[in-house]
């Protein structure tokens, strides 16, 4: 079973593990572990990276990395919370595999999260002359 496998491989790096319905698993982890966890899920367990969704919450900026295990159709969604809202930073996963490049660029411009080590961090969707420091998906 892939669920047990994931749990075993990620070990004590993850918390708040909970299942929702048949095919959804949510868990959270610390921002410093992001590269390691993504590498295990993507490279070793052969999951497909569906997307990442960023959100501005009262507690901080939250990113959920959604991975799809296509053999059984299960989704594994790993959540990280970046508490520092003024200068949010996290390691980039785009140098592990190129498919994550665009979504990180999008989160960078929409939420202002700095992805450390991203090969090509520049505007994706907004106009070139969009004001610096204004992020459409930031609340308030």
């Amino acid at each position: 079973m892939i669920k047990e496998e994931v749990r075993k491989r990620l070990g004590n790096k993850i918390k708040d593990w909970h299942k929702h319905g048949l095919r959804r698993v949510y868990f959270s982890f610390e921002p410093r572990d992001v590269k390691e966890i993504v590498a295990i899920l993507f490279k070793e367990l052969g999951m497909r990276f569906a997307t990442a969704s960023g959100q501005d919450t009262p507690a901080g900026l939250e990113i959920i990395y959604h991975f799809s295990f296509d053999k059984t159709g299960e989704m594994f969604s790993g959540r990280v919370l970046i508490k520092d809202k003024a200068r949010p930073e996290i390691d980039s996963i785009a140098n592990l595999f190129p498919g994550a490049e665009w979504i990180e660029r999008e989160m960078w411009e929409m939420l202002g999260i700095n992805f450390k080590g991203h090969p090509n961090l520049k505007r994706l969707l907004l106009a070139e002359d969009w004001p610096e420091g204004k992020h459409p998906l930031r609340k308030g």
């Binding site: 095919r23 959100q55 053999k71 159709g73 595999f97 498919g99 994706l124």
Partner: protein, 400 residues
């Protein structure tokens, strides 16, 4: 690189729909790098969605894309129903069947549309005109069932908005029956034609490992040998109660992508027929009142690949976060490897082969380093592509 030339394609092109901007770096005829600039279509739908209540959002997300305008609302309602405890536990049987019928009809219309445009790009305008002509009966069926040729507004949380009337079913069956010989014709015309094979085989290859690394989805991934299809992996509607096949090819070139799409047309027709056979009686809407707090993910196999929606609710009548990931978002990015290494004349079809909502140019400027400057208009790139086909065709004729 001393002779590096930049060819901007875009953002406006006479024949394609969406503006997108590609910067091709070429060395002689060969494409050495490509820079993709998007954002000409960005309307901030994710943010707008947070200001609309749950029943309004389907109309909004429908307008993300006009070609897969059933996939987005479908994925959204699946996400909301995931919060409520799963589609199967919420939605009435008949509504599940109707959702699948509309979904597959949309796949037929979308694949025919792509086939036509691909034909145009390689200089087979007849294919374009034919494909779009035979697409019309499907649009008529949409108009009959949903009331609009596009933007069907069928999905709502807990069911569908409109029923399929019993008197419509024979008409729909007849339209499908008439479509089969047409697809047979396309299959013959495209797959057996040596010129088309020469143009499409071995061009724009995205191999299996690249497809994994770029997280490609849909026909683009299936043509590269990845066995993924949301309809089978995570069934929605009634896709698990029907008999159908996932079409997989190994080569990853444009020919394989074309083949996957043509063969999928047969599967879609087959699925609609089975749905019509089994269509049960009953209500079409569960009348959902409140959405509890929680988060849900909805996935749908749109004609272009997996369409992903993530919705979070906090117990009010609006989503507090709605993340949308359209399939082209992954596939267009993979053009970066598919187009590099090919020639300029293959670029038009390669960039179009992932079936993006792709758009090229109002004019193309070829900048020779520093001094020389040549302005080509958007047709020239297609013309270049069409001339190549013509050349291959003539060579073949001479040999025969």
């Amino acid at each position: 690189m001393s002779h590096k030339i930049v060819i901007p394609i875009g953002p406006y092109h006479p024949l394609q729909e969406e503006p997108e901007f590609f910067r091709l770096y070429v060395d002689g005829e060969k494409v050495v790098d490509i820079d993709i600039v998007i954002g000409y279509m960005h309307r901030g739908i994710e943010e707008l969605s947070e200001h609309n209540h749950f029943d309004q959002v389907p109309f909004l997300v429908e307008r993300i894309c006009g070609i897969c305008s059933h996939s987005h609302p479908n994925a959204y309602v699946l996400a909301v129903e995931d919060i409520l405890g799963g589609e199967r536990n919420v939605v009435p049987e008949r509504a599940l069947y109707i959702r699948t019928i509309i979904d597959e009809m949309q796949r037929i219309h979308s694949h025919l549309l792509w086939l036509g445009l691909a034909g145009h790009f390689i200089g087979y305008n007849t294919v374009w005109m034919w494909a779009w002509r035979y697409r019309e009966p499907i649009l008529d069926m949409f108009e009959m069932i949903t009331g609009n040729r596009q933007h069907y507004a069928m999905c709502k949380v807990g069911g569908v908005r409109r029923d399929i009337r019993p008197q419509d079913i024979p008409i729909l069956r007849k339209a499908l029956d008439e479509l089969v010989p047409v697809i047979d014709m396309f299959k013959g015309a495209v797959m057996d034609d040596p010129v088309i094979q020469a143009r499409l085989k071995g061009i724009g290859i995205l191999n299996r490992q690249q497809a994994i690394d770029w997280c490609a989805v849909g026909p683009t991934a299936r043509a590269a040998g990845l066995d993924i299809d949301v309809r089978r992996d995570e069934p929605y509607g009634v896709t698990d109660r029907l008999k159908w096949n996932v079409i997989i090819e190994k080569d990853g070139d444009i020919f394989a992508k074309t083949k996957v799409r043509i063969l999928e047309l047969y599967e879609s027709i087959n699925m609609i027929r089975q749905c019509l056979d089994k269509l049960p009686e009953g209500p079409i809407d569960a009348d959902i009142k409140d959405i509890p707090p929680g988060e849900g993910i909805g996935r749908v196999e749109a004609p272009r690949g997996e369409c992903f929606h993530y919705v979070r609710a906090d117990g009010t009548n609006r989503p507090i976060r709605h993340k949308i990931r359209a399939p082209s978002y992954m596939n267009v990015a993979s053009n970066k490897v598919a187009a590099v290494g090919g020639t300029i004349s293959d670029a038009a079809i390669t960039l179009a082969a992932v079936d993006p909502c792709y758009c090229c140019t109002e004019r193309t400027a070829v900048l020779e380093k520093g001094s020389e400057k040549k302005i080509m208009n958007g047709f020239d790139l297609i013309k270049l592509s069409q001339e190549k086909t013509e050349k291959i065709r003539n060579n073949k004729d001479n040999r025969d």
